[in-house]
């Protein structure tokens, strides 16, 4: 199985912007304020920027690594570890993406359960969403990117909802700055990075980009936009809520929607949560796509069969997770794995790969 991709399946480099942003923004944006405020209070907006910069560095590393031979990560594994050991590392990625899909799916359904339908049938809704994911991924990468694009553009109107709470804003909340130590801010930054991960799918879809070297800047734009989005949401949350209050609220973003009032609609969170499906759909489709493609490349299984397997596992996983605490612990485990991959494994891979290539060249 080689990583070469026919031209008609490739997407234009500009779309990488949407691929990167849409997988970074997911369920995390509903609740990230609580975790960072716990650590660095109102100063945590700096943590958002610091975490954003660190992601820029990783993206830069990934591009440096992939642009050397224009191969995806599975080929790089083969170059470094040989034919058999490379499969082990590939499988790690597959597991991570499946776990990620389950985590996103479960948290979204949990939000629906808590805020809209406490009595919803878990099996039915999960199956319907799994069919939706199957239908999208079955259309190929082009359709997956299409969902990433539309999942970015259509919910963009939700940004306008950030203007409503400003009516009740206390801008003095933000001053004075630097009330927390650097250590606390850095601590919050590490927590914040959890909201950025997911872009490691880039390692898999890289060969599907036309003129990939041109897409480099768009990936950075994508991260920059995500950073901006998190900052905007954090800003509104900080001026709207009291510091102690944020720590007690699980989903501060949803709380903001609650106070919105328009002449024809109240309790906007119902519409917001429903539209949120479009935001998290790219998360799930892109990671299931990456996982199924990896399985195909690693074991020569048909991608469609791999996809069905992944979705069945996901459904079982979702049914297995019950109650807020279990989901929370599970989600934390997944984010730790993701954190390890992004900040531990990728830089390590970069170093080894560079050395291996250097050694080969000198030979």
């Amino acid at each position: 199985m080689s990583s070469s991709v026919p031209d008609r399946l490739k997407v234009s480099p500009g779309l990488v912007f949407f691929l990167v942003t849409s997988i970074q923004v997911g369920v995390g944006i509903l609740s990230f304020q609580t975790t960072i405020v716990e650590k660095a209070g109102y100063d945590s907006w700096m943590s958002i920027i610091i975490a954003g910069i660190s992601v820029h560095i990783i993206i830069w590393l990934i591009y440096k690594m992939l642009m050397k031979e224009h191969k995806d990560v599975l080929d790089i594994h083969v170059t470094i570890f040989g034919k058999w050991l490379s499969k082990v590392f590939g499988v790690l990625f597959v597991f991570y993406f499946i776990l990620l899909t389950i985590s996103v799916l479960r948290i979204y359904i949990e939000v629906i359960q808590v805020w809209m339908f406490p009595e919803i049938n878990l099996l039915v809704i999960t199956t319907i969403l799994a069919i939706l994911i199957f239908y999208i991924v079955n259309g190929g990468f082009r359709v997956v990117v299409g969902i990433c694009f539309l999942g970015f553009v259509i919910p963009l109107y939700l940004i306008l909802t950030l203007l409503f709470p400003l009516e009740f804003a206390h801008y003095e909340n933000l001053t004075p700055i630097f009330t927390h130590s650097i250590k606390e801010i850095m601590n919050a930054s590490i927590t914040m990075t959890f909201s950025y991960i997911g872009f490691s799918t880039l390692l898999f879809y890289y060969p599907f980009i036309k003129k990939p070297e041109k897409s480099h800047k768009y990936a950075h734009f994508g991260v920059a936009f995500t950073t901006f989005l998190y900052l905007a949401v954090a800003f509104v949350t900080f001026v709207f809520y009291d510091e102690e209050q944020i720590k007690t609220v699980i989903y501060p973003t949803l709380g903001i929607w609650k106070i919105m009032e328009m002449p024809f609609v109240e309790r906007f969170e119902y519409i917001g949560i429903s539209s949120w499906l479009l935001v998290i759909l790219p998360n799930m489709t892109l990671s299931t796509w990456a996982a199924s493609r990896a399985i195909k490349r690693l074991f020569g299984l048909k991608q469609r069969i791999a996809l069905v397997l992944i979705l069945v596992i996901s459904i079982i996983g979702v049914l297995f997770l019950k109650g807020y605490h279990m989901i929370d612990i599970y989600a934390q485990v997944v984010t730790y794995i993701g954190f390890g991959i992004v900040y531990g494994y990728i830089p390590l891979l970069f170093i080894i790969y560079t050395i291996v290539l250097k050694v080969r060249k000198s030979k």
Binding site: F117, V124, V143, V265, E266
Partner: protein
């Protein structure tokens, strides 16, 4: 699949059997005998002053006037000893002398008559004299426009080609004809502008038309269902139009037009979703007006699909969404209604569908009456009887009205049907259900292609240049390039510099 194949095999066997039979009729006598079994076949000896000729034709498809005015008078006083002489005497163009029975058969069935010296002769003179019974050109009825040309295609492919060629008098306009349909032998023409249209698109259409396996092609809509990229989809992937001006305009854009003999609608491809919401009349209006109408139409469609499902979702699950001022109105209209919102909505939607269906099937005058009677009487009566709330009645009537704003009839049908899955999912999962269904629709639209080109373009893949003539129509001077979607050979329509040249004050 197997069942299908065996049926196909049987069919093929039958056809080959028929073919064998026709092969047996290699000699002319057998052919003529077979033809004579039909009562509208004329086969007789005509006596002139000096000689006689055998004449045979189907009187139902041959214009006897040609015989009387252009054949007989010229042969009256001549000695007719050879067919060549007859041929040179009669002033009809494109006559041929042949003894090939297959050709003769084909021509006989296509409005030709054959002339022979005697009944045993194998050589025939084939004279073209088809009778032309066709509707005269009338104003467009489906795509009516207040301003602009008032011509519409008719059922005859020759007239239709004429309507097109008059609008594009260039030699690059190419017409490729095919015959499809085992029984109907329908003429299908693929039309494009050489050197401009993407060859790949033309070849795709040609190949698909050639591969069509069917016995009868009655209308171009048959062909749409066969050559579309995804025939199972609810969304039409080839635009059909009855306006020659629209067909000429899209040809100049670099699209391919497919014409079917016997159909007053031509097919246009590749097309995209936004094109179905643009009426051709938009180009006759000022761009600002046209853009405004297009936007209204676009929102009308979204409204038409989503409003009833949202009503069902809100009233079944999310009462909290409704502001308290509005709540009073809703409660007072719904308090006597015994049905849950979903049943209420389905009953009313079905009523509207019934009215539409009845109105479409009945003769025009009765249809109008039914529409008015049904609309007013059933609507008011059901509200008064307490079966439905008047708020929903207003909503559904508006949704129905909005669905009529789509200029392309086929898309209107799609919109009619597509709201039912939305309704069911709205009933199951409220607003989440509506969004799930919406996502399914998006995924489906993303997967669709029209002749291999993305159907959702220019929205996805995002192409800003093509957006200049999609939901918003920019002035002609801005649209100087052909759509990227079509990948034309010649991308420039006209010089941008000249079109957008600005004059200084007092120049």
């Amino acid at each position: 699949m197997k069942l299908f194949r065996s049926k196909k095999d049987k069919w093929n066997k039958k056809v080959s059997k028929l073919m064998k039979q026709s092969k047996k009729m290699d000699d002319l006598q057998a052919l003529l005998e077979a033809c004579q079994e039909s009562n509208d076949f004329f086969h007789y000896e005509h006596t002139f002053e000096n000689d006689t000729l055998w004449i045979s034709y189907y009187k139902s498809i041959v214009d006897a006037d040609v015989l009387h005015k252009a054949v007989f008078p010229y042969l009256e006083k001549e000695s007719l000893n050879s067919l060549e002489k007859v041929q040179s005497l009669i002033p009809v163009e494109k006559t041929i002398i042949t003894s090939n029975v297959k050709d003769i058969e084909k021509n006989l069935l296509n409005g030709h008559m054959i002339i022979r010296l005697n009944d045993q002769e194998k050589k025939c003179l084939v004279v073209n004299a088809p009778v032309k019974k066709e509707r005269s050109i009338s104003p467009p009825e489906v795509e009516f426009s207040v301003v602009g040309p008032k011509e519409a295609f008719v059922e005859s492919i020759d007239t239709n080609l004429n309507l097109l060629r008059v609008r594009l008098p260039i030699k690059e306009l190419k017409v490729k004809e095919f015959t499809i349909g085992k029984l109907s032998k329908t003429k299908v023409a693929i039309i494009y502008i050489a050197g401009l249209t993407n060859e790949e698109n033309v070849n795709t259409v040609k190949q698909r038309v050639k591969e069509v396996e069917i016995d009868q092609v009655i209308d171009s809509s048959y062909l749409t269902q066969i050559i579309s990229d995804n025939p199972k989809s609810l969304f039409p992937q080839l635009l059909d139009t009855e306006r020659p001006d629209r067909a000429a305009a899209v040809l100049a854009e670099g699209k391919v037009v497919v014409m079917v003999n016997g159909s007053p609608h031509v097919l246009i491809g590749p097309t995209n979703l936004t094109e179905f919401f643009g009426a051709f009349e938009d180009y006759f209006l000022n761009p600002i007006l046209a853009s405004a109408f297009r936007i209204i139409r676009f929102f009308a469609v979204i409204f038409s699909i989503l409003v009833t499902p949202i009503y069902v979702a809100v009233l079944t699950y999310h009462y909290e969404l409704i502001p308290s001022d509005l709540f009073g109105t809703l409660i007072s209209s719904r308090e006597v209604v015994p049905l849950p919102p979903i049943l209420e909505a389905i009953i009313l939607e079905l009523t509207i569908e019934l009215l539409r269906e009845a109105g479409a099937r009945l003769p025009t005058k009765v249809g109008q009456t039914i529409g008015i009677v049904g609309g007013i009487v059933i609507g008011t009566a059901s509200v008064e009887a307490g079966l439905t709330s008047n708020v929903l009645l207003i909503i559904i009537a508006l949704a129905a009205l909005a669905s009529f704003t789509t200029p392309v009839y086929q898309m209107g049908n799609t919109i009619r049907l597509i709201r039912f899955p939305f309704l069911i999912l709205a009933y199951m999962f409220g607003m989440v259900g509506v969004v799930i269904c919406f996502c399914f629709m998006l995924a489906h639209l993303l997967r669709l292609t029209s002749l291999g080109r993305p159907f959702l373009e220019p929205l996805y893949p995002p192409r800003l240049k093509d957006l200049k003539d999609s939901i918003i129509r920019f002035p002609f001077s801005w649209n100087t390039k052909r759509p990227i979607q079509l990948q034309t050979q010649d991308t420039v329509r006209y010089s941008k510099k000249k079109a957008r040249k600005k004059k200084d004050i007092d120049e």
